[in-house]
């Protein structure tokens, strides 16, 4: 068996063991889980919300994960479970701060008419910066679909919109971002 496969298996088993330990109250095991997953969670949060909220929301995600560990059934990988929890926390945050559907664009509204940040993206921006400047709704659909791999039906359910709106938002986001590809 290739050694890389063995290492991956041991890593997965190590995460499973740490998850079991953390579920039984071991904070050190939970810290190891945090260190393994923080980059992915923080990047998701940072892309979905304003950057200055990312640290607080990331901390909130891990605290909630700790509280909910007893509900983790092991039917998916811990990382997948944590990631879904992070999406839920971000979306709940979005509702809390009143960014609900009011900031969602109507199906065919151009990005430039959206409330929130202007979409006059500088050509010199890198892709992440350009992504951060998209209006909230388009940015979240783009992150969930193109970065995280969710389907339109799932995104529509999560955001409380119809799948057609999700598709339209995604297209507008891609059209805005295409001008900012590093060439």
């Amino acid at each position: 068996m290739p050694r890389q496969v063995l290492e991956d298996t041991l890593t997965a088993d190590s995460i499973a063991a740490d998850t079991a330990l953390a579920a039984s109250g071991d904070a050190s095991a939970f810290e190891r889980l945090y260190r393994t997953h923080v980059a992915r969670v923080h990047s998701l949060v940072r892309r979905m919300l304003d950057g200055d909220e990312a640290d607080d929301v990331t901390q909130d995600v891990f605290i909630r994960a700790w509280q909910k560990l007893s509900t983790f059934r092991g039917e998916s990988a811990f990382g997948t479970w944590l990631h879904r929890l992070a999406v839920n926390v971000v979306l709940a945050r979005r509702k809390t701060v009143g960014m609900e559907r009011g900031r969602f664009l109507a199906d065919d509204a151009p990005l430039d008419n959206a409330s929130g940040k202007p979409v006059t993206l500088e050509l010199s921006m890198d892709f992440e910066e350009a992504l951060a400047r998209l209006p909230e709704g388009a940015r979240q659909v783009f992150v969930l679909h193109d970065v995280e791999g969710y389907r339109h039906e799932e995104i529509a359910r999560m955001l409380g919109v119809v799948p057609g709106t999700s598709k339209s938002q995604l297209h507008h986001a891609r059209m805005a971002l295409r001008r900012h590809l590093e060439r």
Partner: protein, 223 residues
């Protein structure tokens, strides 16, 4: 520029157009340089999104999280949520798992040891040693697993009164099978510590034990 078609390009990329729409759009693309170029750009955006790299936060957030854990400690194994409803595991599923474990563990170790025995001395010399890093990780993982198993077994001994006797019996039978498999793998590893298959087999068997204990505890807590 044809907005009608341009607005469908993302759906085209994502494979969401039906056959008729796809054929019509492809016919348009063959004659429209603008849409063709836009399509190429959009494909690059999609590809770029998949290569975004995750970044650590600029400061370590653990201290704040750790502080939150003290005030909102988890409820290990949900012992406080025990209710009186009795719950039975699916006997068929557990028996099937039991049989599978017997066959897999016994057969696996037999194959590993048997094939080992048939190898010549030269072949044994050619067997690649496990890297120290892997072995250390494996040992560290085993220590962690042993601790998790001990805690889960303690919890189960407290909670198993909530399971019916048939379920408890089957859980114990499965645990005995797993323990035999672990013992066999450990015995085999003492003779051949660098055997990759045996290391993996032991890791997988311990993982199964943790999973069985965790599920049994969860059922007992819900019962």
């Amino acid at each position: 520029m044809n907005d009608l078609w341009t607005n469908r390009l993302s759906e085209y990329i994502d494979g969401e157009l039906d056959h008729t729409e796809r054929a019509a759009l492809e016919a348009h693309l063959a004659t429209c340089g603008h849409c063709y170029a836009t399509l190429a750009d959009l494909r690059q955006v999609v590809a770029r999104a998949k290569t975004l790299e995750d970044r650590e936060p600029t400061r370590d957030l653990w201290a704040g999280i750790r502080a939150g854990l003290t005030t909102d400690a988890p409820i290990p194994l949900r012992r406080d949520r025990l209710v009186r409803r009795r719950f039975s595991l699916t006997v068929g599923q557990l028996l099937a798992a039991c049989l599978a474990l017997v066959l897999l563990s016994g057969g696996g170790v037999w194959v590993a040891l048997g094939s080992r025995g048939q190898q010549s001395g030269d072949a044994e010399k050619q067997s690649p040693p496990t890297r120290p890093g892997i072995r250390n990780a494996s040992e560290r993982w085993r220590v962690q697993s042993d601790m998790a198993i001990a805690e889960l077994q303690d919890a189960l001994s407290l909670n198993e009164g909530n399971l019916d006797t048939a379920t408890v019996r089957i859980v114990r039978q499965n645990l005995a099978v797993i323990d035999r498999a672990i013992s066999q793998a450990q015995h085999a590893l003492r003779r051949d510590p660098g055997n990759t298959y045996l290391n993996l087999h032991l890791a997988e068997t311990m993982r199964q034990k943790i999973e069985l204990l965790r599920r049994a505890n969860a059922l007992a807590s819900e019962s």
